[in-house]
């Protein structure tokens, strides 16, 4: 195909060059035709030559008539002389004069003009009936008659030949333009036919590629479905194994047997985790991930990690430190679940596979990017982090070096338009950075009216919603509120709620404590047990 494309390009370039060449020739031809037309439209100089011949004849006639007695007006002779002079003058000036002189190889006009000047004095002073002078003048000019006649003939023939030459040139140009046009049409038609043929070939190839892609996608889907099914099917018996191991461990009193059972339990849990990863990986392959884009508290993300990974670290007998590097925005907007999972998969891998002794995870936020800096102090050995976190290769044999957890994490980060980079700290630790673009979210600042019956309940409420961007306002002065938190209970509860709704028509009314009629509230939470529920509900309003 590369050869064909090269040929197409050469053909296209050739057609363009040929078209430019023909257009240039056409332009030059057109210009030549214009010049020819301009020459053809010049003054007809043959007419000027014959006029001179005619005026000489008329001058000689005027002399002859006077001599014959038909006219004795010397004025007429002088007038004819002047007109003859003016006709000779035409040969001496302008483009017409130049063209006329070009034919006058015998210098007839020059000689005639000299003769005019010689005879001028006699003509001007001629008297009536001075036949002798008239005869002398006639004899002086008579020889020029035949010479001017010959000059007229030469000029007429010459101009006709020029005109014929111009006509031939224009015919030739027209023919050339015709042939060039036909050639251009043929070339363009040929090129078009070839390009259409080539286009058909490319379409055919594209169709074959599409069919191949569909075939491969089908095979991939089958593989992914198989993986999903297998991992799902394996999880069920594994859960059974784990349950039975837990029962056996609980009833075992022999320490040695108990240690073996715990080891079996850890192995089974690890296998269950791997099956979960396989399920996730297959799910990602099967369908595009729909990323969430919801507001979440940065502190929640930060606190969830030790809660999630603490047991794994303890089991691996490693230390885990999670912290904020600098100030984080209170709220971020993105997919908190997948961010958490990405971090967890990476840290878990370091703990369980790389023999990490100490892991630090620091979250920072700069220029719209949430960065996780994971520093790992590990045992080393034959394992190298490049095998897992380095640049991916297309070599399918390298899959053996891949690990499922990091692979899933890598896919998740890529889906979130993030990036994973690997390096080393100054003291030789593994340094892994996970950078994901996440927008900072500026939450609404909710106005909350808190109405409680006792100081302890007021403290419990305030403690429950601490950390949220809310403004506590007094019920005595508040004219507007977003949320009213009322300590529920008592026979007047519905009436009290109705009064609050009338006073704050756009506010939500939350009941805390032990409401008698929960249906009159927009939300109820039994404090202090359901403090988290209250916080989450208010967080929803922030988003």
């Amino acid at each position: 195909m590369t050869g064909k494309r090269l040929f197409s390009r050469i053909l296209f370039g050739g057609v363009v060059l040929a078209a430019i060449g023909i257009a240039t020739f056409g332009f030059l031809t057109f210009k030549a035709n214009l010049d020819a037309m301009r020459r053809a439209s010049q003054e007809n100089i043959a007419w000027s030559a014959t006029q001179l011949e005619r005026e000489l004849t008329r001058f000689l006639d005027s002399l002859g008539s006077s001599r014959a007695g038909a006219s004795s007006a010397t004025v007429d002779i002088n007038q004819r002389f002047d007109v003859l002079w003016s006709r000779v003058a035409v040969f001496q000036r302008g483009k017409v004069g130049a063209r006329l002189r070009a034919y006058d190889t015998e210098k007839t006009i020059e000689r005639l003009f000299e003769e005019l000047k010689r005879q001028e004095v006699f003509v001007v002073s001629i008297k009536s009936f001075d036949f002798t002078t008239m005869a002398t003048i006639s004899q002086a000019f008579f020889p020029f008659g035949s010479e001017l006649h010959e000059l007229s003939r030469v000029i007429t023939v010459g101009e006709e030949q020029k005109a014929a030459s111009i006509r031939a040139q224009m015919r030739s140009s027209a023919n050339f333009a015709l042939y060039a046009s036909i050639l251009t049409v043929l070339m363009v038609s040929g090129a078009l036919i070839y390009f259409v043929y080539e286009g058909q070939q490319f379409r055919k190839l594209a169709e074959e590629n599409r069919a191949l892609a569909e075939k491969f996608k089908l095979a991939s889907d089958v593989k992914s479905r198989f993986l999903t099914m297998m991992s799902h099917e394996l999880r069920t018996p594994m859960n059974g194994v784990l349950g039975l191991l837990a029962l056996a461990r609980a009833s075992e009193s022999d320490p040695e047997q108990k240690a073996r059972l715990e080891q079996a339990d850890r192995s089974a849990n690890r296998m269950l985790g791997m099956l979960t990863d396989i399920l996730d990986f297959a799910a990602q392959e099967n369908a595009p991930i729909a990323l969430a884009n919801k507001p979440f508290f940065s502190t929640e993300l930060l606190l969830a990690l030790p809660e999630l990974l603490g047991p794994v670290a303890a089991q691996a007998e490693a230390r885990l430190h999670v912290m904020a590097d600098g100030e984080l925005p209170v709220m971020l907007c993105g997919d908190a679940t997948r961010l958490r999972r990405s971090y967890a998969l990476m840290v878990t891998y370091f703990l369980e596979t790389a023999g990490a002794r100490d892991i630090g995870l620091a979250l920072s936020y700069k220029n719209g990017v949430l960065g996780a800096r994971i520093e790992v102090d590990y045992l080393g050995g034959g394992w190298s982090p490049d095998l897992i976190f380095g640049k991916r290769t297309d070599n399918t044999n390298s899959f053996a070096a891949e690990a499922l957890g990091p692979s899933v994490a890598r896919v998740l980060v890529e889906k979130m338009s993030g990036d994973i980079t690997l390096g080393k700290t100054e003291d030789g630790k593994i340094l892994l950075r996970i950078d994901v673009p996440v927008a900072a979210f500026e939450p609404r600042r909710l106005k909350v009216v808190l109405i409680t019956q006792s100081a302890p309940m007021e403290m419990v409420c305030k403690s429950s919603i601490s950390g949220l961007p809310v403004e506590m306002i007094s019920a005595h002065t508040a004219k507007h509120a977003d949320i009213v938190i009322l300590e529920a209970g008592g026979a007047e509860e519905p009436k009290h709620v109705a009064g609050l709704r009338a006073r704050y028509p756009s506010a939500l009314v939350f009941g805390v404590g032990r409401p008698l009629q929960p249906e009159v509230f927009d939300f109820t939470a039994e404090l202090p047990l359901e403090a988290a529920l209250l916080k989450n509900r208010i967080s929803e309003e922030l988003g």
């Binding site: 439209s41 010049q42 003054e43 007809n44 006029q51 005026e55 008329r58 007038q79 002047d82 007109v83 002079w85 003016s86 003058a89 035409v90 000036r93 302008g94 483009k95 017409v96 004069g97």
Partner: protein, 160 residues
């Protein structure tokens, strides 16, 4: 006719006072006839000089370079014999004649040139009058059709 002659005489006197250095023979230089109305005027050099003068700077195939032609506008001279007609017949001293559409005089500043670059035409050099078109200002005039209308030694103009 009488009124026209008086006007021309007044023009002539004014001109004579303004340019006393020009001595003009009072013989007829140009005869202008409107064959439709029968009006006819016979104009001397002084009469023609009395008509407002115009200058046309142009080249043509009978001069060597750009030349300043001076003389009355053709349409002003034609107006002396009234309106009407569509053809103007221009006749030279040797009886050579050409027919010119009247609209040429209306569309272009065609002049009856009596001098070029300050030199009055003699009969031996296209004088006394040369019909000049402003060819350099109008490309469409650079054509043999208009070359043929550059008649010189003009002596008679007839409107038909």
């Amino acid at each position: 006719m009488t009124r026209l002659k008086k006007i021309l005489a007044a023009f002539s006197m004014a001109l004579a006072m303004a340019v006393p250095q020009i001595v003009l023979a009072q013989e007829t230089m140009l005869t202008v006839i409107n064959t439709l109305t029968g009006e006819q005027v016979m104009l001397s050099a002084a009469d023609l000089m009395a008509v407002p003068q115009a200058t046309v700077n142009t080249e043509n195939e009978f001069v060597d370079a750009m030349t300043a032609f001076e003389g009355p506008l053709g349409r002003d001279v034609l107006a002396l014999v009234g309106e009407g007609g569509s053809i103007v017949v221009l006749t030279a001293v040797n009886d050579y004649a050409v027919e010119v559409p009247l609209k040429d005089f209306m569309n272009y500043d065609v002049i009856f040139a009596m001098s070029a670059d300050g030199e009055v035409f003699s009969r031996r050099d296209k004088g006394p009058i040369w019909v000049v078109y402003p060819m350099s200002d109008h490309a469409e005039l650079q054509d043999p059709v208009y070359n043929a209308r550059l008649i010189w030694q003009l002596v008679k103009v007839e409107i038909k």
